[in-house]
């Protein structure tokens, strides 16, 4: 039941129009960060205010919404945002990737392949990939305009000089259609290959930094690298201890104070689905149904 005190999906119509125009310009210039007049939302910055505004602007009454926080459907952030739109939009929600029409995500891309009928909305903390190299907005804007991305390669090279390999493991910078260097939000670099050529629309919202950017479907997204140090998506070298999956991104869970640990799929819906289908891992309970 929609909370009648609010407009559909919380935001007023003028705000939604402003966000919608920004999203469309973002799609027209893939990877370019479109400034928008981010609103105060009833949650603190860092909790997905950008993603929530993009979701609110895109949401239709027929949508089935899924929200994940680092792959999990059952964490505070994900549960709160789902409830927020249940209450202000009256939309259905789900935990199953395949059922969802709109997925808001914090720092993961679902393991289940996305389809043309889905929209993926990322929560972004720092949208500017060059920000930690150059703090001035006026300068980074010029660097994007001139495609002056040498500094980013210097940073990756310094990783190699210091650690022998590119040590950046999340928020790994990408180049979109050979033009804009983009921050894919703090997804693990394991997820980077899924950005490219996705059939789904991918939208990125940064509330505090007031930026929206987008990847249309079937857009070429290349992770930056060097010929002699090619990009390698990485994950923990284990199989999931609950469902046995060997090809998913894993979370390490400390289980006691004597060095015990387990590795489980970060995507809870994918892991649950595999367990329901009968897959078992190293630590699966014997009697699990």
């Amino acid at each position: 039941m929609t909370d009648q005190a609010y407009n559909f999906a919380y935001l007023d119509e003028a705000t939604k129009r402003m966000i919608r125009r920004a999203i469309l310009k973002g799609l027209a210039v893939p990877g370019y960060q479109v400034p928008f007049a981010s609103r105060e939302m009833p949650m603190p910055y860092g909790w997905g205010t950008g993603g929530v505004q993009v979701t609110a602007a895109c949401l239709a009454p027929e949508d089935i919404l899924k929200v994940i926080d680092q792959g999990a459907d059952d964490t505070t952030n994900a549960v709160s945002i789902r409830k927020f739109f249940e209450r202000t939009g009256g939309v259905e929600t789900t935990e199953h990737t395949a059922e969802a029409t709109l997925i808001q995500t914090r720092h993961r891309i679902p393991e289940h392949p996305l389809t043309e009928d889905q929209i993926l909305v990322y929560q972004v903390p720092i949208p500017e990939p060059l920000r930690f190299l150059e703090p001035r907005e006026s300068e980074t804007r010029k660097m994007h305009a001139l495609q002056e991305y040498g500094l980013m390669h210097v940073k990756l090279y310094e990783d190699i000089a210091r650690h022998g390999a590119i040590a950046t493991s999340y928020a790994y910078p990408v180049k979109v259609e050979g033009r804009y260097v983009m921050d894919p939000s703090p997804i693990p670099k394991f997820d980077n290959p899924k950005l490219s050529g996705s059939p789904a629309i991918q939208l990125f919202g940064a509330g505090r930094e007031q930026r929206i950017y987008a990847l249309p479907p079937y857009t070429e997204v290349v992770s930056l690298d060097f010929e002699d140090h090619p990009f390698e998506p990485s994950k923990a070298d284990h199989a999931c201890d609950l469902c046995g999956a060997a090809e998913t991104y894993l979370d390490e869970v400390i289980t006691d104070d004597r060095g015990g640990r387990m590795f489980v799929c970060s995507d809870t819906d994918y892991c649950t689905g595999r367990q329901a289908a009968g897959h078992r891992g190293r630590l699966s309970p014997e009697d699990a149904a």
Partner: protein, 187 residues
């Protein structure tokens, strides 16, 4: 009832949300055609073009009516439903008209190197016809054939990427889009 007062969204939040999803899908997948409904504007403004305006235009977006669509009835309808200020070609966020009336299109804002988003969106009213162009680029898996009002203007628009204007093509209650990122080739 006065034509200027009727023909808006019956339920603004829901109708605008559905119409935006069509606009979103169209802009994300250039060349594909999507139905949009909700607005019933005075002719010659098509329901599709009227719906795009109700969904995206408001008092903060200067609108340019090309001569083909600059009629008192349309002016009144827009004043009542969108409140978009009417303006000249160079300062418009949205432009509505048929292709011939929009010429020359190099008058429209195409953004700056620092802010390529500060560019016009053209809503081009189309006649029906067979595809005359092959589109490739972001949003298109391999290639798609589409009907464009001409070829060279859109080749030139794509050549100045990331600058350029973006277009919606409208006919009746259907829309498709042609962002500046799309590469255009004559069939």
């Amino acid at each position: 009832m006065d034509v200027a007062l009727s023909g808006g969204f019956a339920r603004p939040a829901e109708h605008a949300a559905r119409a935006f999803r069509a606009c979103l899908q169209a802009m994300a997948r250039p060349g594909r055609i999507y139905p949009v409904t909700g607005a019933e504007p005075p002719a010659p403004l098509s329901p599709a073009a009227g719906t795009i305006l109700l969904t995206l235009a408001d008092s903060t977006t200067p609108l340019h009516l090309a001569p083909s669509h600059d009629t008192p009835a349309i002016r009144q309808w827009i004043a009542f439903h969108c409140a978009a200020p009417l303006t000249g070609a160079g300062t418009a966020t949205f432009v509505v008209g048929n292709w011939a009336a929009m010429q020359p299109v190099d008058r429209f804002a195409r953004g700056t190197a620092d802010y390529p988003d500060r560019s016009a969106t053209l809503i081009i009213e189309m006649e029906e016809g067979d595809p005359n162009a092959r589109l490739t680029g972001p949003g298109i898996e391999t290639a798609i054939d589409a009907r464009l009002p001409e070829i060279t203007a859109f080749e030139a628009n794509n050549a100045v990427f990331p600058l350029g204007f973006d277009c919606y093509l409208t006919h009746g209650d259907r829309i498709s889009a042609l962002p500046r990122s799309t590469r255009v080739e004559a069939l």
